[in-house]
């Protein structure tokens, strides 16, 4: 048995802990270092947590994600000038997936992928905007955004440390959170379209609730003040357990997003990635817009990518892992695995990879070099898993 059996060393004190960190450790969470935070990778079984989310509901502490507010009279226009996705026209309560890019002629510099939202409007109609960014990119994204703030009119505040975010994911997630809210709030939560959000009182505490997530399931993400995190988490979990729900760690979150074909920054998506080759073209709107890095993205959009993102079905129990070479017909390297795992819902291993376009057609058979072994795999469409219809209401075009 190799080092992976050995539990991690005692964590350095520099690791950040979410408001739920002590709860996780006290309830069997196996804590690991993730992007500078000590986070539960699992409680007992990743497979059980994954399947509970698909069949019922899973609770995930995603408080490590960065949460920023952007307010002031210039907030919306400034974000429109900073993000790859169109922000103008966003309506109150709406969320959009975007990239955060820096200035660079070429290659492109993608600092992060993010959700931008118009959380609510002030009494005078001024939009209050929000951004949710990746934990590992938070500091550099905040520094970048601050460096581009206008002298007046826009306030950027990092609320990551004074709030907590709980993802309640699975077919029973929306009903469950609505049921913990007052009647009027519950009705609004049930009526949320995908990528829409509202404020609500959840389990007696002020919360922002959005129909978003990173698991391929219906569900919501609930943001509360840090001091309320444990009470809200425990209330949601107490309601979830009788339904077959459970608390889940980052291990299940990763297998869920892999099945859902969702890219993860640092794995599929990197600073110099071509978002069009990754299937993220919808996050980039070049039409009549100006934002940092637009020129480099325009070049990428007009060009032919060397490698594009595909799904691979291994049909095996043995998994491909990030970095494994993908081999073409003559045995030459034609790509690389970016994420791979046993997929609990599917029952065997799948992977995402970047490969030469000539090998990207569905049905193409390739080989993956996994340590000393060669594993055949078939190119398939993404996502690997699509939830049964009947979940969230379709949202308006965004």
């Amino acid at each position: 048995m190799s080092d992976s059996v050995t539990p991690p060393l005692p964590r350095p004190t520099s690791l950040r802990e979410t408001p739920l960190g002590q709860w996780h450790a006290a309830h069997g969470g196996r804590m690991v270092d993730f992007a500078g935070w000590t986070m539960p990778v699992q409680y007992a079984s990743i497979v059980d947590e994954h399947l509970a989310t698909r069949s019922s509901v899973g609770l995930f502490d995603v408080s490590h994600m960065g949460r920023l507010s952007v307010t002031g009279p210039g907030a919306l226009d400034w974000l429109e000038s900073m993000l790859t996705r169109k922000v103008a026209g966003i309506v109150p309560g709406q969320f959009r997936y975007t990239l955060v890019t820096a200035d660079a002629p070429a290659p492109v510099v993608i600092l992060d992928d993010a959700l931008v939202s118009r959380d609510s409007d002030a009494a005078d109609g001024t939009p209050r905007m929000g951004l949710v960014i990746n934990a590992g990119n938070r500091e550099r994204v905040v520094a970048w955004l601050r460096s581009r703030l206008p002298a007046t009119g826009v306030d950027l505040v990092d609320h990551t440390l004074d709030t907590a975010m709980i993802a309640v994911q699975g077919p029973k997630g929306v009903d469950l959170v609505a049921g913990l809210s007052s009647e009027g709030d519950g009705t609004r939560i049930l009526a949320l379209g995908n990528y829409r959000g509202t404020t609500a009182t959840v389990a007696g505490h002020a919360a922002a609730v959005s129909r978003t997530g990173y698991t391929g399931e219906d569900g919501v993400e609930v943001t509360v003040a840090a001091v309320d995190a444990v009470a809200v988490w425990e209330a949601i979990l107490a309601a979830a357990v009788p339904l077959g729900g459970r608390s889940c760690g980052l291990g299940a979150r990763d297998t869920l997003r892999l099945e859902a074909g969702m890219p993860l920054y640092g794995h599929e998506l990197h600073a110099d990635s071509d978002p069009f080759a990754l299937g993220l073209g919808l996050a980039v709107n070049l039409e009549g817009r100006t934002f940092p890095g637009r020129g480099a993205l325009a070049v990428l959009k007009a060009g032919q990518p060397e490698r594009i993102r595909i799904g691979l079905d291994l049909g095996s129990k043995r998994s491909a892992r990030e970095g494994n070479p993908v081999l073409g017909g003559a045995g030459g390297e034609i790509g690389v695995v970016t994420s791979g795992s046993f997929a609990p819902t599917i029952g065997h291993a799948v992977a995402m990879a970047l490969v030469a376009p000539a090998f990207a057609s569905e049905g193409t058979v390739v080989e993956i070099a996994i340590r000393d072994a060669r594993q055949q795999a078939r190119v398939v469409g993404l996502p690997f898993y699509r939830r049964p219809p009947g979940g969230g209401k379709p949202s308006a075009a965004g």
Partner: protein, 128 residues
């Protein structure tokens, strides 16, 4: 039988020699630490191995781990039903969940491994 088993620091156990052959598996602690086992690769029967050499791999949802030979010798039998029934490792890691049988070059090498008390001290000292 468990009291006579010896352990490698890499969490394999090995039984006393009977008829020139010792049985090898992985500890209950290791199975519990790995969780979500999905795949196992066994060595070929007849392979000569050195102590500490990788003789196979065991894969969980999260990661792949090597299985190491606790002593030098020859692989004389493998538990070929185990890869399709990895749950056996969790149910009976020191019995039906055995992995390989090895003919040690020198049975005395087994005695040099950790006894049960020393192994329990090792895993007890590790944060879980």
């Amino acid at each position: 039988m468990l009291k006579d088993v010896r352990f490698a620091k890499s969490h394999e156990w090995i039984s006393p020699v009977a008829g020139g052959v010792a049985t090898v598996g992985i500890s209950a602690y290791a199975v519990e630490a790995l969780t979500d086992l999905v795949f196992m690769q066994l060595p070929a029967v007849g392979r000569k191995v050195k102590a500490g050499e990788s003789i196979g791999e065991i894969e969980s949802v999260k990661a792949v781990s090597d299985l190491y030979a606790p002593v030098s010798g020859e692989i004389v039998e493998v538990n070929s039903t185990l890869p399709d029934h990895l749950e056996t490792l969790g149910q009976d890691p020191f019995g039906a969940g055995w992995i390989v049988k090895i003919r040690p070059d020198d049975p005395a090498n087994i005695d040099a491994l950790l006894d049960r008390a020393a192994y329990e001290a090792l895993i007890g000292s590790q944060p879980h």
